[in-house]
Amino acid sequence: MSMVRVLVGTRKGAFVLTADGKREKWEVSGPHFAGWEIYHLKGSAADPNRIYASQSSGWFGQIIQRSDDGGKTWQQPGTPPGEVVEAAGPPKAVSNKFVYDTTAESGKPLTTHQWYDGTQHPWEFKRVWHLEPSLTDPDTVYAGVEDAAIFRSTDGGQNWQELSGLRGHGTGPEWQPGAGGMCLHTIILDPSNPQRMFIAISAAGAFRTDDGGKTWKPINRGLKSQYIPDPNAEIGHCVHHIAMNPKRPDVLFMQKHWDVMRSDNAGDNWTEVSGNLPTDFGFVIDVHAHEPETIYVVPIKSDGEHFVPDGKLRVFRSRTGGNEWEALTKGLPQKDCYVNVLRDAMAVDSLDKCGVYFGTSGGQVYCSADAGDSWNPIVRDLPAVLSVEVQTLT
């Protein structure tokens, strides 16, 4: 019997929601790491019981947590499960050391980036926004961080090494923080080419590596952003999220600050596919697991009003790869609703009828077990949801 496990990161802890393949009756566990901000959790495709979590706090900084039993128990990587220094003793090792690599051998000098007022500001590590486990090795995981950079661990999350070619790309002084900070929030691994990765930064844009992370190329041609004077600017775009169907890795879909975009050549060029959306501002975007031209967004009113328009929570679906969109409303509140859906808070499962999931700033997590035709809340009253991931377990 198939199962799904939904991993929910919130402002005040993590929750794990499980159901069988019908996706009707749910068990909720949590809060894990109560009181901490959980920006993201994600399971390994190579070992579904291996889950990584980013736990952070303005007071205490960044912690990495890992589960080896599907989210039942957690540890800071570095302490073998069940092994402690003394009775009820502490973990044995550090797993939260994210230090920009400035060494002569493998690093790049620490430069500055643009600050909100246009002055230059030092690069400072703040938190991990996104964890992307390797598709093949449970012990390898990538971390997208604020201030923007990408790190990799090859020992299960204990030690982290920056892939400094991205931060040292040379355009760093032109990168600038969005309202949420200067975060690297999207990491997509190409299943057909282990040397290729895509990342996105607010507000620098999208980048691609074709050599396993050594060098990076901006892939922002075709993006237009009204807050950038140069209409052909290579850098500075506030990309909110990118999605890919793993079966068609050259086709990417993007929710930019404003505009929904697609690329058919791995990001080399982008075209706008906002079409008949009521507003093309938003954060999330995702692709149907089995229909690579079926995509989902949740339009948000504007950059100044971060909630759904007209008090109606509507997912919009395009079955044509963009431009033509239909509102999906069955089971979603259509009156007096003013929630937001953040960039990492939508996911799809890979069951036969593709399941679609998203979480809101109001603490609801919705599930559609029929590709978006109808929706049901799994939970209604969690803390504000920061991220949603789903694992399909067979």
Binding site: G35, W59, V84, G89, K92
Partner: protein, 98 residues
């Protein structure tokens, strides 16, 4: 023996309850206390002071003997009452939102 009081979230991470008691070698200072704490509880590295600069995280304060010592030099000797274990050294989170 030095007595150290940690905020609840750090006690959870370190898997301790109540005060932490530490042997501190040499002069008792903020630095020597935190060095001893982090040697015994390595996963607390980075949560009280920065990994690299070792500067106190902005939203944490250091109190002892009813005084805020947060802005004292990390190498300044702490009061004798802390060094003798009569009074605790307190790491406390600043009031800053929910």
């Amino acid at each position: 023996m030095i007595r150290l009081i940690l905020p609840p979230h750090l006690r959870t991470l370190a898997r301790v309850s109540g005060d932490v008691e530490l042997e501190v070698a040499g002069p008792v200072t903020q630095r020597s206390i935190l060095d001893a704490l982090e040697a015994r509880y390595p996963m607390l590295r980075g949560t009280i002071r920065d990994h690299v600069t070792l500067e106190r995280r902005a939203f944490l304060r250091f109190f002892a003997c009813e005084e805020d010592l947060s802005h004292e030099s990390p190498d300044a000797p702490l009061p004798e009452a802390v060094a003798s274990g009569k009074e605790p050294f307190i790491v406390i989170g600043a009031i800053a939102g929910g």
